[in-house]
Amino acid sequence: MVLNAGLQRSGLIVVGLLLSAGLSALLAMAPGSEHRRLSQALFSLSPGDEARTAVNLPHTWRDACSDCVMAWYEFSIAPPQGPRQPMAIYLPGVGQNAALYFNGEFLGQAGDFQGRGGRHLTDPLLFPVAPSLWRVDDNLMFVLLRAEPAQRGFLPSPWLGPQDSLATLHTVQNLLRQAVVRFLGLACLVLGLVLALIWAKRPAEHAYGWLSLATVSWAIAQLSITVTAPAFEPAIWEPLLNVAATAAPIALLGFVAHVMQLDTGRWRRGAWLMLALTAGVATFDPGGYTERVMGVVVHGLYLLAGIMLMFDGWRGETGLRRCLLLPGSALVALALQDFPIVSALPAFHYSPALAVAVPLLLVAFTWILLGRFIRSLEMAELLNIDLDRLVREKTSALEAQFERVQALEREKVIISERERLMRDMHDGIGGHLVSTLAMLEKSGQQESPVATAVKVALDDLRLMIDSLDPVEGDLTVVLAMFRDRVEPRLRAANIRLQWQVEDLPELAYLGPSSVLSILRILQECVTNVLKHAQASDLVIEARAEDETVSIRVTDNGRGFDTSSQGAGRGLKNLRHRAQELGGELRIDSAHSGTTTILILPSRPA
């Protein structure tokens, strides 16, 4: 069943929203009710400061001092009730570097307090509190924070609870906010570089370029989450990350615009202008609000990308196109939800869901694009294979044609040679032989041995000429030619000819020389009959048998002794010819007549 298009669209949006809600719920997972949330503290800008103010957490202290580096929070904690068990303090993410002191004891720290400002934006921190540290009445905890002026100063509510369950929570959150983001960042970097390589080869296909820029930018931008010790001075590190963080959504917008076929020169110019602007602001803004402004701008861009994806998915005619509604709606929902966080409204934990959602989306898009690229490669390969096959077929067809042409050429050579021979013989030897005969006839010697010899020579000449006529494997044609030659002679000798020739199978091996051999054998048989047999009837039969074709010449003459010396030599000659044809010759002679059988193979031996 195909879903109704409207239903399909709504369904995709609902799924997108559900996914985004699920992701935010995971990220916002808070300790259970058995834990104590420490939501009130005394805040000061330095440990010795007497002017401490009571604040509710989460609290951003950058509002109180734009160029301060340190902040100091003091918590007063009642001892835990119930059975004694190992307790711990859990910080969902402190913005920057933090150090904890409990009843004067140092609990631990995240990041360096001397060198460059560290980053623990979404890094959950866990500090176990040894049971011996607890006092029965009041316990005092200090949280020291350090942030560069360009960074935000921020403290969420710490949680106090059993170490076991907080450790589990810490592990899960660490996995989600750090490991997953790190992994996706690495994937983005690798895929982005692959895309860049493809784009370098195919600069005309902007989709690769946009997505490559988006993924690589993201891979750099996410360092602000995953790297706690910056590699460069903040003056370089912060602008670099900010520019990358802006470049990623700009490039994503470019990609979406390309998908929507809005990818014009104007779009590209706009994107570069925006990047340049961001870079300028990030580099030269000394005020310390850059990060917040950037966060708003970046999230605004992601929101726009989500809206465009939704728009395109909504218009889409194909199912695949409509699927854009899913990432579109998720992106819109998550960007909206993250807005308060990035604009520093202290209502949420500092854990933007886009940090996970965007790389997921980028990886998915890249995967699709690479899949398409690989498919196009495969298509090309298939096309090549097809082409190869075609070429092979054409080649063999050409070869076959060439062979046919060659065969025709050979046949033509034979025919033209035959014509030349006939012309020469006609005007030359043939004419002379005929004249000689006429001369002998004129002088009354037409029956002389010389006249007979001349006739034999003339007959053989005719056989040679006949044998050069292409017969296309048809033995009946050969026999017919023979009949034409021999019948007037038989008629003159008053010998009746019975012609019993069936249709015969094609003998592929019949060429000029084999035809000449057959004609000569038959001629010899008939000549013998004319000369010696004193027959009145001659039967010529031809029929096909299983593997052979037989030609039978039978007369009703007086026969001859096949073993006599004179006959023997002639017969030996005939048999030899028959053997050369791959056949045999059988002669059966009696007083009632002679039968000569020429047996030829149906196929060449």
Binding site: H426, A438, M439, R462, V477, F482, D484, A492
Partner: protein, 219 residues
């Protein structure tokens, strides 16, 4: 009934003498003239009443016997033309038939055979050999280009049957029996086929001339 006049054009003296002797000795035939050259024969055909039969050798020293045959087509009445051949091969014979001949003679045939076949030709019976039949079949296959310019030149089914049997070596009488017709019908088929080859060759000539632009197509 008066004897049929026979013209012989043959450059070899011995053959010419022999043929002259045979014609003269055959009852019903009379030798009109025996000539040696193309030019003398052409002049003779122009000046003398047309003979009943012309025996002509193709290889004349001063011209082509085929041209003599073509010339004879314009005479009235048209003589029967036999081409004199040593081998009776299809190259010679078909070219002669295309030019207008209706028969062929083997130079060394026995005297009676020669006289007999001249008389039979006058009677309407054209000789044909199996290989000539085979080449005729090839030449007159329906559907060639010339068929369009000479529609009358296509063989009928019956004619094709006759040619096929001849090509297989059957004699007229055997063919007549096989196809259920009289021997006379078989011979008249042959004559028709010869005429068609002539028409066909003219058709081909016209076709080629049209192709070459030598003549203009009728409008």
């Amino acid at each position: 009934m008066s004897s049929h006049r026979v013209l012989i054009v043959e450059d070899q003296p011995l053959t010419r003498e022999r043929l002259s002797g045979i014609v003269a000795a055959t009852p019903g035939l009379a030798l009109a003239e025996a000539l040696e050259t193309f030019s003398s024969a052409a002049a003779w055909l122009e000046s003398q009443p047309s003979p009943a039969v012309m025996l002509v050798d193709l290889g004349l020293p001063d011209g082509d016997g085929l041209d003599l045959i073509r010339m004879s087509r314009h005479l009235d009445p048209q003589p029967e033309v036999m081409v004199i051949s040593v081998f009776g091969d299809e190259r010679h014979v078909l070219a002669a038939i295309e030019a207008g001949a209706t028969g062929y003679l083997l130079k060394d045939s026995a005297a009676e055979e020669i006289g007999d076949s001249i008389l039979r030709l006058i009677d309407g019976e054209s000789p044909i050999s199996s290989s000539i039949a085979r080449h005729l079949l090839k030449r007159l296959q329906p559907g060639t280009q010339a068929a369009a310019t000479a529609p009358g030149a296509n063989l009928t089914r019956r004619e094709i049957d006759v040619l096929k049997l001849i090509a297989k070596g059957f004699a007229y009488a055997e063919i007549a029996e096989n196809l259920g017709m009289s021997p006379h019908t078989v011979t008249s088929h042959i004559k028709h086929i010869y005429r068609k080859l002539q028409v066909r060759s003219r058709g081909e000539a016209v076709f080629e001339a049209l192709q070459l632009g030598i003549i203009e197509a009728p409008r």
